[in-house]
């Protein structure tokens, strides 16, 4: 499991996760994820193109970071999930708490950029 920081300055954060967000994967990235994504008072685009698996542990990681940013009126946008990952996120009711988009322009729009 890897967290790649694409952009961490400017007006929004942009990171990419890759690998399996399972028990081991969450353990490997959760601290860094929380500190990078919720570290600034700005919204974040999380590219999950390369995430092949997520279960509730991984969802919890995304949810708590989004909640944290929400207290500062900022958002987390999930970008480009694989179909099976998207189905899991939607089944867990994620689409009503954080935008899930497949188009980068839309992701920018969601965070007002």
């Amino acid at each position: 499991m890897e967290l790649k920081i694409i952009q961490n300055d400017g007006t929004y954060t942009h990171v990419a996760l890759s690998g399996r967000l399972d028990i081991d994967g969450v353990k490997a990235v959760e601290l860094e994820f929380a500190s990078v994504v919720a570290g600034k008072n700005q919204s974040a685009i999380v590219d999950i193109t390369e995430v092949s698996f997520i279960a509730s542990l991984g969802m919890r990681m995304l949810l708590s970071t989004a909640k944290n940013l929400r207290t500062r009126s900022c958002k987390v946008v999930l970008y480009n999930p694989q179909p099976v990952v998207q189905e899991a996120l939607e089944t867990a009711g994620f689409s009503s708490v954080m935008p899930i988009v497949n188009d980068f322009a839309k992701a920018l729009e969601e965070i007002g950029k």
């Binding site: 698996f53 279960a55 542990l57 929400r70």
Partner: protein, 135 residues
């Protein structure tokens, strides 16, 4: 396609995570469609982490048995453990309509298991809990 996988793992997150690789290999070797493989791996992780977290009141090592039976397009997944008598399927689903700031972080796992399976069951027999899911 048909096949069977039967193994035990210790009641620790590390051991459960390591044993997940056996399921991944099984899914590959059985050529499970990606969606089915995903559901199986998700249900494994949700149920096993639940058992490890909540089923043991002592600090002793325990063994959890995992059985997977694959016949045609049906997968029967069973967990047998000697922890407490708790039926995970009686847990109430979290409210998925609450806004982000109030959204519960727990309970999502069992909800996903339920939605991704055809049927679920729980039985307590000879001091052991048997949790079954048909995918």
């Amino acid at each position: 396609m048909s096949g069977r996988l039967d193994f035990t793992t210790a009641n620790t997150f590390d051991s459960v995570a390591e044993a997940a690789r056996r399921l991944e290999t099984f899914a590959e070797e059985s050529s499970l469609p990606p969606r089915k493989a995903y559901q199986l791996e998700l249900i494994y992780e949700e149920l096993m982490t639940n058992v490890v977290k909540y089923s043991y009141q002592d600090a002793l090592p325990h063994q959890i048995q995992v059985i997977l039976d694959h016949h045609d397009d049906e997968l029967a997944f069973t967990i047998i453990h000697d922890g407490s008598d708790f039926n995970p399927w009686t847990q109430e689903d979290p409210d998925l309509t609450t806004p982000l700031e109030d959204r519960q972080e727990g309970g999502i796992g069992i909800l996903l298991c339920r939605k991704f399976s055809r049927s679920t069951a729980y039985e307590r027999k000879d001091g052991k809990s048997i949790i079954t899911v048909v995918i």
